[in-house]
């Protein structure tokens, strides 16, 4: 990224800087509004909102909640089909581009879920039937670790990028 681009981006979204935003809230336009929120947050009694739980209990409940999102419903299968058709249409209209579909490793429960299996089956099929579409399935997903039960942590992301580059070449 060039400094010019960063500067343009920064000035467009944050014209008065961090300190300025504290004085005049860029969204509401109110004077010292954000500062008031920060102060309220600082002096709020911790007993009111914070319920501490053991780390293990937290992790399990989060994973279970996430797992509930992943079963394959009729709506999901229809949406997935539509997206795959859209990719196919895009590939047909852009012959000169080589398209690689990638499934990024994530939590093993998700990766082996019904929804992901369905996605992988459809993706393999479209790659087989369309000349400029390729599918790169993740290698051994159990070798990767996540930072939040879903997204790859830094070392695993680097490991996956190495694998991906090898497959792309």
């Amino acid at each position: 990224m060039t400094l010019k681009t960063l500067y343009l981006t920064r000035t467009e979204y944050d014209p008065v800087g961090v300190f300025g935003n504290l004085l005049i809230d860029p969204i509401t336009g109110k004077f010292l509004y954000k500062f008031k929120l920060i102060l309220e947050d600082l002096f709020r009694s911790p007993q009111k909102n914070h319920v501490s739980k053991p780390i293990n209990e937290d992790k399990t409940s989060t994973l279970e909640k996430l797992q509930e999102v992943w079963p394959l419903s009729a709506r999901d299968s229809l949406l997935i089909q539509k997206r795959i058709e859209l990719i196919k249409e895009y590939a047909t209209n852009n012959h000169s581009e080589e398209i690689f579909l990638i499934d990024i490793p994530m939590n093993s429960k998700h990766y082996t879920s019904e929804k992901m299996q369905y996605i992988k089956n459809l993706t393999s099929e479209i790659a087989r039937t369309t000349s400029n579409i390729n599918f790169i399935p993740a290698n051994d997903y159990s070798n990767y670790s996540t930072s939040d039960g879903s997204h790859l942590d830094r070392s695993s992301a680097i490991k996956y990028v190495r694998y991906l580059e090898k497959r792309l070449n």
Binding site: M1, D103, L152
Partner: protein, 135 residues
């Protein structure tokens, strides 16, 4: 009670001054939407783009460009899917040799508000530039 406020105030001023004087070479943002905006604007504004583009959601977002040996533009948008990036790429006819599309998140719908915020804004700039100067 007064000391933490005073320290916070001084630290904020130092942070503000640093932001304005140091030569920033890293890609960062203050929040998720800000980083998404930086990624999209790089694709739309920069002239010498890499020929490899990566579109996806927060899963792609984690595949930082610094991790790659080859040059790649990562348009993995946290909270969205590949649709927004690909839609904008197609709309502005951005050229690429290789497109990587993450298929983990295929059930999210296109966020029209996000896409329109760029297309309408840039259309306006194009129109302004197209107006000839008076003789």
């Amino acid at each position: 009670m007064k000391k933490p406020l005073l320290y916070s105030f001084v630290l904020l001023i130092i942070y503000e001054v640093l932001l304005r004087i140091i030569n920033i070479e890293w890609n960062t943002g203050q929040h998720q939407f800000n980083v998404n905006a930086i990624k999209v604007e790089r694709m739309l504004i920069e002239s010498d783009l890499p020929t490899k583009l990566l579109f996806g959601s927060s899963y792609s977002y984690r595949l930082n460009e610094d991790y790659w040996d080859t040059e790649i533009l990562n348009v993995g948008l946290a909270g969205f899917s590949f649709l927004e990036g690909l839609e904008l790429k197609d709309h502005f006819n951005i050229k690429a040799d290789t497109i990587l599309i993450e298929v983990n998140m295929l059930t999210r719908s296109l966020n029209h508000q996000f896409v329109d915020s760029y297309s309408s804004h840039l259309k306006m700039i194009d129109t302004q530039n197209a107006i000839p100067y008076p003789n």
